[in-house]
C-alpha cells in the first residue's frame, strides 16, 4: 500500500534528532510536527521570522501579528525567538538549519528539484523554496512517486523549471525512501506491501537496487 500523508509524515519524523532546528514546508511536511518522538526536543523554524513555532492557537489566543510561513495563525513555543526576514534567511542560507522538509513536483538523478512552476498554469512564485534548497545540506523531499496516470516524478532530467540544482539527496515518496548520489537513485526502503518491481516500474531515472530492500517501519 502506498503511504498516506500521515504515514509519510511519520516516516520523515524518524529522521529527526534531539536538538534539531527544523524547517517544515507547507502540506505534508507540516504534519511531521505531529510525530516528534516523545522526549525529543526539536525547534521549528518558520521562514517569515520565527524560531520555536508552537501549535495552532485557541480562539482566545489568536493574534494577527503571529503567523507562520503558510500565513496561518500560530503560537510560540517555549524559548522561541522572533527576527526579521533577512536574519531568517541568513539562518537558512548559512546552513544553520539542521533539517529541511519540503514537497516537489519532480526530482532527478542529479539532485535537481522542480517544485514551484508549471509553465502555462498560474505561477504563484517560489516563496522561500529556492533559498531553502540552496542553503540546507540535509533536505528531505516528500512527494508522490508518480502521477495519478502512472507518470514517474523521479526522472533522469527534470522537465519543469528548477527550484534548485544538484541540492537534493533524500526523497521520501508514497512508495519508497530513496537516496540520490553519483547521478543515480538508490532504493533504501519500500513502503509496506509495495514491491521492488512496482517501484522500478514507476521510476523513470536510473534506480539502483542493492540486496533485499527492507520495508519501512511505521
Amino acid at each position: 500500500m502506498a503511504l498516506s500523508r500521515e504515514q509519510l509524515a511519520q516516516r520523515v519524523a524518524q529522521e529527526l534528532q534531539d536538538g534539531y532546528y527544523v524547517n517544515l514546508g507547507i502540506g505534508i511536511p507540516t504534519l511531521v510536527a505531529n510525530y516528534v518522538p516523545e522526549g525529543m526536543e526539536v525547534m521549528l523554524q518558520s521562514e517569515n521570522g520565527l524560531l520555536g513555532m508552537g501549535q495552532f492557537p485557541t480562539e482566545d489566543e489568536i493574534d494577527a501579528d503571529l503567523i507562520n510561513a503558510g500565513k496561518q495563525t500560530v503560537t510560540m513555543a517555549k524559548g522561541a525567538s522572533i527576527f526579521d526576514s533577512a536574519e531568517s534567511f541568513a539562518m537558512i542560507r548559512g546552513g544553520h538549519v539542521d533539517l529541511t522538509v519540503l514537497g516537489a513536483f519532480e526530482v532527478d538523478v542529479n539532485g535537481n528539484i522542480a517544485s514551484y512552476m508549471i509553465p502555462g498554469k498560474l505561477i504563484k512564485g517560489m516563496g522561500g523554496a529556492m533559498d531553502l534548497v540552496a542553503g540546507a545540506d540535509n533536505i528531505i523531499v516528500t512527494m508522490t512517486h508518480a502521477s495519478k496516470h502512472g507518470v514517474s516524478k523521479l526522472l533522469t532530467n527534470c522537465t519543469l523549471p528548477l527550484t534548485g540544482k544538484g541540492c537534493i539527496k533524500k526523497v521520501l515518496t508514497d512508495l519508497a525512501f530513496i537516496e540520490i548520489k553519483n547521478g543515480k537513485f538508490y532504493l533504501l526502503e519500500r513502503a509496506p506491501g509495495v514491491s521492488v518491481e512496482e517501484i522500478i516500474s514507476l521510476t523513470e531515472g536510473e534506480l539502483v537496487v542493492e540486496g533485499d530492500v527492507p520495508e519501512m517501519r511505521l
Binding site: 520565527l50 501579528d65 495563525t73 500560530v74 526579521d84 526576514s85 533577512a86 522561500g128 542553503g135
Partner: protein, 232 residues
Amino acid sequence: MAGFDKVVSSYEEAMEGLEDNMTVIAGGFGLCGIPENLISEIKRKGTKGLTVVSNNCGVDDFGLGILLPDRQIKKIIASYVGENAEFERQMMNGELDVELTPQGTLAEKMRAGGAGIPAFFTATGYGTPVAEGKEEREFNGRHYILEPAITGDFAIVKAWKADRYGNLVFRKTARNFNPMAATAGKITVVEVEEIVEPGELDPDQIHTPGIYVNRLVLGTFEKRIEQRTIRS
C-alpha cells in the same frame, strides 16, 4: 516637525511627494505587518505606474491588492503572488509585470540596498530561471549568482511602537520585511499603533533606529487575518 521629531499629523502629509512611476518598497508578509493605511493613502492619491517591491501583493480587497483595480501598479517584485483574482487577470493579460524573486534574496536585496551594498552573490536560484541573465561565479567549489540590491523612492513600513524620533519596535512576526524596507527608501514612512516620547523606549530593545525613518504617523489597524487557523 523640528529636530529629530519625525511625527506628521496626517496620512496625506505622510505620503506627500509620491509621484507616478516611482518605486515603493513595502514591509509585510501576507497580510501580517503590512502598512495598510499607507497603502490606502496611495489608493486615495491615485498615483499610477508604480513599481512595488513587496513579498506578496495582498488580497482582492485588502493590502496592496487594492491598488490593482485602478492599475496603479505597473510592476511588482515579489516572492509569492496570485492570492487574488484581479492580480491573476492582470498578470495573465500582460498588464502587470511580475518579477518573481526568492524570498531570502528579496529580503537581502532590501537589506543590501539600505546598507550601501550594490549587489551580492548567493547560491539561491543558481541553475533556475532566476539566474537567467545574471553573472555567475564559483567560490570554494560552489556556484553563485550576482543579485543587485534594491532601493526605493519611498519605503512604507508598519511598526508596533515608536518614539517621536522614529526609533521603532515591531511586534511578533509582523516584523518580517519591515526593518529591511525601512532602510531602503529614499523617504521612509512608518505607521505605528503607538507613539511615545523620546527616552521612553529602552535603547537596547529598539529594532530599527530612527536614522532610517523620515516620517512617522499614528494609525489604527484592521490587521486582517488571511488563514485563521485554530487547534481542534
